[in-house]
Amino acid sequence: MQERVKKPQFDVVGTRPIRPDGVDKVTGRAKYGADLKMAGQLVGKVLRSPHAHARIKSIDISKALALAGVKAVVTAEDFPGQPSEFIPAGEGVVNYRDMSNNVMARDKVLYEGHAVAAVAALNEKTALAALDAIKVEYEVLPHVIDEMEAIKPGAPILHEDMITTGVTPAPTKASNISKRVEFNLGDITKGFAAADLVVEREFKTKAVHQGYIEPHACLASASEDGSAELWVTTQGHWVVRAYCAKLLGWDIGKIRVTSSEIGGGFGGKTVVYLEPLALALSKKSRRPVKMVMSREEVFKASGPTSGGTVKVKMGVKKDGTITAAEAEITLQAGAFQGSPVQPACMCAFANYDLENVKVVGFDVVSNRPKVAAYRAPGGPISTYGVESVVDEIAEKLGICPIELRLKNAAKEGTRAAYGPKFGPVGLVECLEAAKESDHWKAPVGPNQGRGLAAGFWFNIGGETTVSLQLNEDGTLTLMVGTPDIGGLRASLCMMAAEELKMDVSKIRPIIADTSSLGYNFLTGGSRATFSSGMATVEAARSIVKQACGRAAKLWDIPEEAVTFEDGMIRPAGENAGKHQPMHLSDIAKVAGKTGGAIVGYAAISAQGAAPSFGVHIADTEVDPGTGKVTVTRYTAIQDAGKAIHPSYVEGQYQGGAVQGIGWALNEEYIYGDDGKLQNAGFLDYRIPVASDLPMIDTIIVEVPNPRHPYGVRGIGETPIVPPMAAIGASVRRSSGVRFFELPMSPPKVLKAMKAAGKA
């Protein structure tokens, strides 16, 4: 592997210590969203719409309230209405009117499972009886599920005030298209004219769910004085606090939110569903209220990611140089605007250094649950189309898919169509690593095919606060506010240990609640290890500075004449050797006598997040009798910048790849003509199980991010971007058929193979 930067040697960073939160997780002690109990707690349940689209004519809660043991009922009337305005939030924007109307339907229900009312009762049985006792009168309206149906003239309109933005002149009539986005670079007409070969294809992908094993859950306790406590499984408890305060009209500072251990999120736990309801029910009942979604509710009422339609047209010269690239991406937003169409457009051609690009995207509402972020939101959908076309081009030109990509790969200095010029990026290095991998060099097995695809995610930084407390015995307490979804605490402790030259096992990390630490944006956008790592390093360096100051005080020499090296604080310069060096823990012991506690604090808005590129190789075999595709070998290669704890970096690559395998082969939201979801359970919405899979090999490429003290890039999202196209390319070769629709499930594969005379 070619190194762009000489790698420094580290003591802790890059090693594989046991994670600090591990023991509690293998012994059952770790507390997740549904695992906390409070004295006097009630059970909260949600009444949900049985219709895909209906007007709420009336809601009568009187019979429910009259039931013995029912303590509170809330409906939209209990939440102040919100104006429609767009507020930037991480990788997207939020609209509080939509958020409020999504957590509790007002006037209309827009999808099956849309919340209509919520109750709190002494026990589950009574709560369920109360739901039965609520009478809702609906006027059922025609519904629309598919995004291409939803944009047709005459389609049922979900929001009578939805005027498409991004179109000039602005339309005068409401439609289901919330917005149009467009990115341009160069001149595609010229580019296509210069091409020797043009490939144009249309792809279709289905909505898929994040599929975290832990359902949404929370426990709320509101007091008569306006203060409240909330225990919740979330990717961002400061964000939950802000959303709840806004939706309820409460003061942010009076709500204290504690993030439980989180049982998977993948983007799906970045929004609120139950939380504002639980708080409102608690306030009304003056009792703690616990709410937990059933798996069916998770599927029907929490965000999947979009399905969509992706049209791709690419032109190339005979030598493989891409001359023009065009895409039109139409994504389902669910019932409210806000599909990840913007990032889908950003990712579409990001793998390539191109002169002529045009990408147009449409955000389309239909009668489905509002989509939520899912790992590189939008990226996998557009990339599936583009990388599949690139594979077809390679096939038609007879060029190796790696060589074709190397010829056109984005690199340092490449101007992406969506604006930025890339700094040092590792796509070329990943492609080279793929070429050199055992997997690529191994012969393809009999009846098997091999496919490859690349992927990209831009990654974000943002607000993070970390507090490090040097304890009086020299141990360290690390407080961070980005929930740890897969090894974050381990990585942060390692960076602190590296800075302070400490034994990593002497550092105890906690995820602080919203009243104990400054603001933290959520764990998402692959930002946690990057941003919180940056803040941890800054806080650790503050500890060093303070410790040196204390030593200077003790030795009565200037602070500048003290150095910190290998964990020892030494007098330097002309004072060198004049005083006994002190260990950091010696300073900790005398902190009280030299000025008080030593606390390192960093409240930053992390800048300089750098993209991560990845390349995946998949081998598949297709059963010609059933159409079942089996992945027989898989390798995920990705640029981590710097892998702080390589095991958890590998874990992200493997987990993302397998979610992508599920997306490619099995997973889909299936709707009946009645607009109802037909597979709202793990039996029928089948995520990959252990016996479906081979080992997932990984190769960590490290092209350091110059903007991070250890070179870290976010790595969590990119791994789900390449798999669908890699498997599509592989299935093309193992089945003899090229597919343009996901999932490539057995009935579809069998049908296509039969049609092509291959089965």
């Binding site: 594989r16 046991i18 994670r19 939160d21 591990g22 023991v23 997780k25 293998v26 012994t27 059952g28 002690r29 770790a30 507390k31 997740y32 549904a34 695992d35 109990k37 049985k125 994040q210 599929g211 975290y212 094993i213 832990e214 359902p215 251990e261 989180i262 049982g263 998977g264 999120g265 993948f266 937990v292 059933s294 798996r295 979804i485 897969g486 090894g487 704890h645 095991s647 958890y648 590998e650 874990g651 493997q654 987990g655 993302g656 790849a657 397998v658 979610q659 359970g681 793990f682 039996l683 995520i687 990959p688 199980v689 252990a690 016996s691 479906d692 899979l693 080992m695 997932i696």
Partner: protein
């Protein structure tokens, strides 16, 4: 209707609880006995997060009624470590980083323990098929399978 009085053994301890007829063993463990290690991921027997052993047999405790535990021997994740000593499977899961969010981990560990009790020397394929009833959305199973194989080898003294 009055609640049922159940007398059973959990992780070697004699316990009693009162439960409704329709209450699952999972709910009894979590709500009546405060044993929160078994998790509810689906309550339909599809995800395996609630896996426990009932008289040595691997079951989804969400599919067993609380009253069915009467006179039986229930083993949960809380009983896996011996004193301060982690079970080899628990240790290997930590060493191999075989968990990310950890919500499926108790169920996977209980299931893996049941496998090794039956088959101390499983092949990779046998591990994969045995654990097919335990969904993990984070890891892609790679490190889980390796940890189970490694623990099996250690337990065999290999």
């Amino acid at each position: 209707m009055a609640k049922h009085h159940v007398t059973t053994t959990v992780n070697g301890d004699p316990v009693e609880y009162l439960c409704e007829s329709e209450q699952s063993l999972l709910d009894c463990l979590r709500d009546e006995l405060d044993l929160i290690g078994a998790k509810e991921g689906c309550s339909s027997g599809d995800c395996g997060a609630c896996s426990v052993l009932l008289d040595g047999r691997l079951v989804c405790s969400c599919l067993i009624l609380g009253v069915e535990a009467e006179g039986k021997n229930v083993e949960t994740i809380e009983g896996m470590a011996q004193g301060e000593e982690l079970h080899p499977l628990q240790r290997k899961f930590l060493e191999h980083a075989a968990l990310q969010c950890g919500i499926c981990t108790p169920g996977v560990l209980v299931a893996a323990k049941a496998l090794l009790a039956k088959n101390p020397d499983p092949t990779e394929t046998q591990v994969r098929y045995w654990l097919a009833g335990n969904l993990c959305r984070c890891t892609g199973y790679d490190k889980i399978v390796r940890a189970v194989m490694d623990a099996a080898a250690e337990m065999r003294g290999a």
